[in-house]
């Protein structure tokens, strides 16, 4: 049996977060209109200004078209066929009142929500379809002035912060999906770290799409005030369904002077089956601004899920001496498609960015790294280093690398390197000669290939990510 066959053989592992939770839910009727937006806003008891914000975004959206430049084949999305609001009927007042079915769901996913059982050192906001169902360790965080709550609560309790920052990094006008999100977003997480505070634990949001025929449109906003520090994790899963489901999120990060935000994602939305049926359309706009001097924003992502991924977590390096980082591992197996990468916009002096992207493509997967590095004419001594490598497993997949680079400042330095190759026959044989099975050899080599990125993940996620890589590649190798 050739190595290709063997690798193909082991590519048939099942998606193990694909179960459905059976609870009573509230739905908005399918379709999108100003009335639906008013319905969502009323459901969430929102203030008038937020409704206006939504309606303005909606009107913009109706004038916009989906971007056509990504290298993606997307079956047309029927925006009128989606229900824009789904929430468990029984809204919880506190952790103790959360529907046991939901608690069990998160338990199954390895995210216990009872604080006594929760992972030490990680506070979790759990988002189930359109709403946040629980946030752990709120009290403990509040003692230090850290706000970590659902977006809806933030609108109610911290309207000034929301008003000030909502849409300040990703305006509704940014793109089609960002406008859609601004019109219909239902919940998400809000984080504010006060001046000089080092957040004592990892903050984490866990997104779960459960209901059929719905989209998830969450919004995350993280503000790190001067000299503060926060590490934030996000994880996502969805049941296996034959229809494609839309996930169009917006994440905005603001880092003030000397502040640092580390944002890690392990994205494991349902990728569709091995024939490419079903799966999540993951169309996400993530952007951070290093507003103040010497601030830092670091994105780390492990993208194993979704049938289609369209996302470019980016940094605007405005403050002098600010730092942007992007570390990414993306796997596209079976019929998965990903068009992903980052933008680093250097505006301030002595700004520095690092991009490390590792793409693994197998089966009929198609993957594009799309990056943009811009160094403005005032960005004295700006530095960028980009490394993007693609590994191809099999001859029916494709890997594409499209970096855009623009430099206007002569004291800046930019370096971009990229490689594309398959796993070396020599490497496989060497491992097997030492007694490793072909599967183990492939996993070992893939893990080595991704190591630079995986080591950026917080411990709790690194192990999960490593396992995910193995599962995602089952049957993929060639």
């Amino acid at each position: 049996m050739s190595s290709t066959d063997q690798i193909q053989d082991r590519l048939s592992q099942e998606y193990d977060a694909g179960f459905v939770t059976d609870i009573e839910q509230d739905f908005a009727p399918p379709g999108l209109s100003e009335d639906i937006i008013r319905f969502i806003s009323a459901k969430k008891k929102e203030p008038e200004w937020l409704l206006e914000y939504r309606l303005k975004a909606y009107r913009l959206w109706t004038e916009m078209t989906e971007p056509v430049w990504p290298k993606l084949k997307i079956a047309p999305v029927d925006y009128q066929g989606i229900s824009y609001y789904a929430a468990p009927k029984e809204g919880p007042k506190s952790l103790d009142e959360v529907d046991p079915e939901i608690l069990e769901t998160f338990e199954k996913l390895g995210i216990p929500l009872h604080e006594r059982a929760a992972l030490a050192g990680v506070a979790v906001d759990a988002v189930f379809d359109s709403v946040s169902v629980a946030t752990t360790f709120k009290g403990k965080l509040a003692e230090m002035g850290v706000i970590f709550c659902s977006f809806s609560e933030a609108v109610e309790n911290h309207p000034d912060l929301i008003k000030k920052y909502l849409g300040s990094v990703v305006p509704s006008t940014d793109n089609f999906y960002a406008a859609l999100n601004a019109a219909v977003f239902t919940d998400g997480s809000f984080v504010y770290i006060p001046k000089g505070v080092r957040c004592p634990m990892e903050l984490s949001t866990y997104f779960r799409i459960n209901a059929a025929n719905t989209g998830q449109f969450e919004r995350t906003l993280i503000i790190a005030d001067e000299g503060s520090h926060v590490s934030y994790l996000e994880g996502c899963t969805a049941p296996m369904r034959d229809e494609n489901q839309l996930h169009a999120a917006v994440v905005e990060l603001v880092a003030h002077k000397d502040a640092e935000i580390k944002y890690s994602t392990v994205q494991n939305w349902y990728p569709g089956n091995k024939d490419g049926v079903g799966g999540i359309y993951n169309f996400v706009t993530k952007r951070g601004i290093c507003e103040g001097a010497n601030s830092k924003i670091s994105w780390t992502q492990v993208e194993t899920g979704s049938s289609i991924t369209w996302k470019y977590p980016s940094c605007i390096l405005k403050g002098d001496g600010s730092v942007g980082e992007f570390f990414s591992v993306a796997i596209s197996n079976n019929y998965q498609q990903a068009d992903t990468g980052t933008k680093m916009i250097h505006l301030g002096c002595n700004t520095k960015s690092t991009i490390v992207s590792k793409g693994i493509t197998a089966g009929h997967g198609q993957q594009t790294y799309r990056g943009s590095v811009r160094i403005g004419k005032n960005a004295e001594n700006a530095r960028n280093y980009t490394q993007c490598d693609s590994l191809l497993l099999g001859d029916t997949c494709g890997a594409h690398t499209i970096p855009y680079v623009e430099v206007k400042n002569k004291s800046s330095t930019l370096e971009h390197e990229a490689t594309t190759s398959k796993i070396g026959d020599d490497q496989l044989f060497y491992c097997r000669q030492r007694g490793l099975s072909e599967e183990d050899a492939v996993n070992l080599i893939v893990n080595g290939f991704c190591k630079e990125v995986l080591k950026e993940l917080p411990m709790e996620f690194a192990v999960e990510a490593q396992k995910l890589l193995e599962v995602s590649l089952e049957g993929a190798v060639g």
């Binding site: 430049w69 160094i375 004419k377 693609s390 191809l392 497993l393 099999g394 001859d395 029916t396 997949c397 494709g398 890997a399 594409h400 690398t401 499209i402 970096p403 855009y404 680079v405 623009e406 430099v407 206007k408 400042n409 002569k410 004291s411 800046s412 330095t413 930019l414 370096e415 971009h416 390197e417 990229a418 490689t419 594309t420 190759s421 398959k422 060639g478």
Partner: protein, 433 residues
């Protein structure tokens, strides 16, 4: 409709009387395509870094070769004797005698249209696409040269010298060159595009190259314009089995100089090497767009472009490597390195890989930076003043590309030309020896 397209007579365009039917059809299609698309805008991916806003409003009319002999005399003076077999075109039209040597036939296209037009049918207008400027050339070219090279050919390089010589009655020209190498033929061909008058001129040039099995071509293409010249070049190459194509592009002057290379390896074992050197100063804009397609197995490609950008100039490198599905044993490597010497200059680079096969090694790398302060310090510590040290480092950043030019007198002339454009360049001429 833009003034630019309008003034060249594309609307209501009629084929030339001497055109064979296939060519008349080709011209008509190209014309239709250009009129339908109009000029590219910044939304056209391949043109997002090169603005044509100014060109669009410009009225240009086809220039004649009236002052031909004078222009040729001028060019001879510029180029000196470079031990090549030369032919001249002025404003797209052959001037003076054709050239021939053992195994080599250089004939004006117009002459072939009169005698044996169908001998051009296989490749003329078939290798280059007909979008935008290549399309304008296809619709409007009047004449040019066909080079046919047999396996028996050996000898001096062939040097095609084109002079854009704008006069009061015209500014636009459409040189067209076809180079065909039969199986196992080898040749060295140089194309030099000069601008004479210092006035506004627009040269829309197309060169098509076909390499049959085992053929080998070393091809140097020089864009050497002046403050008024716009050069929009297209170079299309089709390679058969085991052929080897080497292109060197040198850009040393011109208001707007742009070269699009489309090289396709359609047979196994082919090799394609694209190199380039560009130097842009003042408000010059220089752009190289390359597309290499690995359409068959065991093909190798390398690319190395190096550039210097100063003042308010703008340089663009956009290189695509396509590796088609089902190909095996591919090796594709691309490099683009830039020296940015001013805060008002801009560099865009876009090294782009499109890989649909797993049996390959592919890589690309790009750098943008200034003169390395450590290197500068080293030279100064050895007693060289800063200005000269900068000049030396600037020159040495790109010289490796010039050094690969095989024809020595041509290499020396272009090296001198580059040095003359660098601050303190003349003082460091010794270095180039």
């Amino acid at each position: 409709m833009s003034a630019f397209l309008d003034s060249q007579g594309l609307t209501g365009h009629k084929p030339h009387e001497s055109d064979p039917e296939w060519l008349a059809n080709l011209r008509q299609q190209a014309c239709g395509a250009v009129l339908a698309s109009g000029l590219p805008t910044s939304k056209t991916e391949a043109w997002r870094f090169t603005s044509l806003r100014k060109l669009e409003g410009q009225s240009v009319s086809p220039a004649s070769a009236m002052s031909g002999t004078e222009a040729v005399a001028w060019a001879k003076e510029q180029l000196g004797d470079d031990e090549t077999l030369r032919v001249y075109l002025v404003n797209g039209q052959p001037i003076g005698e054709s050239a021939s040597a053992e195994g080599l036939d250089v004939t004006a296209l117009d002459t072939i249209f009169l005698n044996d037009p169908d001998s051009l049918k296989a490749h003329l207008g078939k290798l280059a696409h007909s979008e935008f400027f290549a399309g304008i050339n296809a619709a409007l070219f009047v004449d040019g040269y066909a080079l046919r090279i047999k396996s028996t050919h050996a000898g001096k390089p062939v040097h095609i010298v084109h002079i854009a010589d704008a006069t009061t009655n015209g500014h636009a020209c459409y040189p067209r060159i076809l180079i065909e190498l039969e199986a196992n033929a080898q040749a060295n061909v140089i194309e030099t595009y000069l601008s004479r008058a210092g006035q506004e001129d627009v040269c829309t040039a197309v060169t098509e190259v076909h390499l049959a099995n085992g053929a080998k071509l070393d091809h140097l293409r020089v864009m050497e314009g002046d403050e008024g010249s716009t050069h929009l070049g297209t170079l299309a190459v089709l390679q058969e089995r085991n052929s080897k194509y080497t292109s060197r592009s040198v850009a040393v002057g011109g208001k707007l100089s742009r070269l699009e290379i489309d090289a396709r390896m359609s047979g196994p074992g082919a090799e394609c090497h694209l190199d380039g050197m560009y130097h842009a100063v003042g408000s010059e804009h220089v752009a190289h767009h390359t597309l290499i397609t690995h359409a068959d197995s065991h093909c190798t490609s390398t690319e190395e472009y190096r550039g210097i950008v100063d003042d308010r100039a703008h340089a663009v490198f956009d290189g695509i490597i396509n590796v088609d599905q089902g190909t095996k044993g591919t090796s594709a490597h691309q490099q683009n390195h830039n020296l940015l010497l001013s805060d008002t200059a801009t560099i865009n680079t876009k090294p782009h890989l499109e890989i649909d096969s797993d049996d390959l090694t592919a890589s690309h790398g790009a750098t943008i930076g200034s003169v390395d302060p450590d290197h500068l310090f080293f030279l100064r510590a050895r007693g060289i003043d800063e200005n000269h040290a900068r000049s030396i480092l600037t020159f040495s950043f790109v010289r490796s590309i010039l050094d690969r030019i095989e024809c020595e007198p041509v290499r020396d002339r272009l090296t001198a030309k580059l040095l003359s454009r660098l601050p303190y360049g003349d003082d460091i001429a010794e270095l180039a020896k």
